[in-house]
Amino acid sequence: MNAVITTSRITKTYQIGEIQVHALRGIDLSVQSGEFLAIMGASGSGKSTLMNLIGCLDVPTSGRYYLDNIDVSSLTKNEYADIRNKKIGFVFQGFNLLSRTTALENVELPLFYDRSRRIKNPKQAAREALERVGLSDRMDHVPNQLSGGQQQRVAIARALVNQPSILLADEPTGNLDSRTSVEVMSVFQELNEQGITILIVTHEDDISRYAKRIIKMRDGHILDDSPIKKATSARQILEIMKEED
């Protein structure tokens, strides 16, 4: 198997005034291509910090991080930006879409910053990404014309459009009701079935059971790392929900 993510003794320390906060105290993690990983833990356990480091949105205080066998921790700021652009799709809890900007334009945004121009027709690619998350009829809507679930699906399409090695999601269902949460998870499962490596951060057991592997964190350490033999199918849950209605 091919390791997409390898971290070795990653730490992150925040300086808040006089106090040093050790958010991560040496994380060793390896994620193979095609995995669906859920990182769990109470708030303050360091799970979001780990996710931000893996997503190259933040830099570790010490330790090494290899993404697709590239030593990311030694890169310059611009190379960091390019890694974010080409290899990573990130989905946030709060969606983080550009306001007053249509779904299609939001999805196109990563391609605008792609210097290699490896995707020849950005508009077409953005349209396809939106079709993949089932939003082909909402392309010209701006975020505040969309429901939370729809906004999150736009964000997922944006994360997919640049064909990343990994798709990261930090509490992707945190702002959504349970029905919409299942819908979003079913989108993730579908993408994972198509071969995309997915990492999500969540504190809900309900959500983590859709993953294939669960990591539990506490106080900056990995407490437990165990595979799930049979992940729950979000699609089936959705069908059950429909029948109940």
Binding site: L57, F90, L109
Partner: protein
């Protein structure tokens, strides 16, 4: 860096998507620029008007009056002892080197009759040089010549008021008027000067050759005053000395004896003029400075208010792979476009306001290119700086910190 054209397109898109913010930002610059230009324009318009009014009194003027006489301890007032003649005027004209123009002034008054109308006005006999001393401009025809003076020609130049009263809309040139039964041919009409500082109508006047008025109209041999103008403002003192020396010699006044004339000059007025102009300049500077600062603060406020929103936007852009310089370039272009557009609109607006003020009110505005350039540069610089500054700070953050910014 990405292609500049793409980033410029992104800037335009962002401006158009955030119309209200763009409008408010530009509005700050529009108001800043136009307020400064109009305020300073009003100031310098007034300054020019004052300068014009002072210069219309005459250039570096020196006036010689006859002195008063004392008889048995009783002063009989200025002019009660008049011995100034045409010969004195000629002597000054020939000898005084610091005097540029000199003219006799012979005062008379009377009913002017012509074209079936009549008007009581002041008739003054002067020499052709008088036109330059008092800065009179001709609106039609011409001023009389030295030859007219030598030949006691019965010609006259009318002030605007007199021309209007006697001839109305008719062209007075070539027409005849009678002043105390002496016929005069009109050869010129003066341009309107308006009221002087004392509120007297300067255009209610008839000028004729000094000799004509003195010998034909008054039958006298003494002139009422001599007007002269010095070569420069600085030479007024010297010119005055020369005139006094010449007149004392002409009048055979022994050393120790009192002058039988008084010499006055415009130094006081000139000093007042330059003092006024100095105060006006200071006032203009202060007004411009205050306006620029107020405009600048307005621009700054709007720019800083949008920092939170913009920092989050920058976080989003960076999280999907924008490099620091992509962000900087886009935001810089945005700030430049908004500031320059706002500045240009502000300049046009101020020209419009100036046009309205000049045509529909008594306020005079005069817009100089200096203040236009200054206000534009200053406002644009503030706009660009405060548009660019949040971007610069945010682009230096880690994307996650920019996203969390509040």
């Amino acid at each position: 860096m990405l292609q500049l054209s793409n980033l410029l397109k992104a800037s335009f898109t962002s401006i158009m998507k955030n119309r209200m913010r763009s409008l408010l930002t530009s509005l700050g610059i529009i108001i800043g620029v136009s307020a400064v230009i109009v305020m300073v324009g009003i100031g310098s318009g007034s300054q020019k008007r004052i300068a014009k009014e002072i210069s219309s009194l005459g250039n570096n003027m020196i006036i010689v009056f006859p002195a008063f006489s004392m008889r048995g301890g009783v002063s009989r007032g200025a002019g009660s002892f008049n011995r100034m003649t045409m010969e004195d005027v000629e002597a000054i004209r020939e000898e005084a080197t610091q005097v540029q123009y000199v003219s006799a002034v012979v005062m008379s008054a009377g009913q002017v009759v012509g074209n079936g109308n009549n008007w009581s006005t002041s008739v003054q006999g002067v020499d052709p040089e008088y036109q330059h001393i008092r800065v009179w401009e001709i609106s039609s025809g011409e001023f009389f010549s030295d030859r007219d003076v030598r030949t006691l020609k019965k010609v006259a130049v009318l002030g605007k008021t007199v021309a209007d009263k006697i001839f109305g809309s008719m062209d007075p040139i070539g027409q005849k008027i009678r002043i105390r039964n002496t016929p005069f041919k009109i050869i010129g009409v003066l341009k309107e000067k308006g009221q002087d500082a004392r509120g007297q109508d300067q255009d209610d006047i008839v000028y004729a050759p000094s000799t004509t008025v003195l010998y034909r109209l008054k039958g006298d041999r003494y002139v009422n005053s001599i007007n002269a103008s010095a070569v420069t403002l600085e030479s007024i003192g010297k010119a005055q000395e020369e005139i006094m020396t010449i007149l004392r010699r002409e009048h055979k006044i022994e050393p120790g004896q009192n002058d039988d004339f008084n010499v006055a000059n415009q130094t006081a007025i000139t000093e007042m003029a330059s003092e006024t102009s100095r105060i006006m300049t200071m006032l203009l500077g202060a007004v411009a400075a205050v306006s620029l600062v107020v405009g600048g603060i307005g621009i700054m406020n709007i720019m800083l208010v949008s920092v939170t929103e913009r920092t989050r936007e920058i976080g989003i852009r960076m999280s999907v792979g924008a490099r620091g310089q992509d962000i900087l370039t886009q935001f810089l272009l945005e700030a430049v476009v908004l500031s320059v557009t706002g500045g240009i609109i502000g300049i046009l607006l101020s020209f419009g306001i100036a046009l309205i003020l000049n045509n529909w009110t008594t306020v005079n505005t005069s817009i100089g290119s200096g203040i236009v350039a200054l206000s534009f540069t200053f406002s644009a610089a503030i706009g660009i700086f405060f548009g660019f500054y949040p971007a610069r700070r945010a682009a230096a953050l880690n994307p996650i910190d920019a996203l969390r910014y509040e």
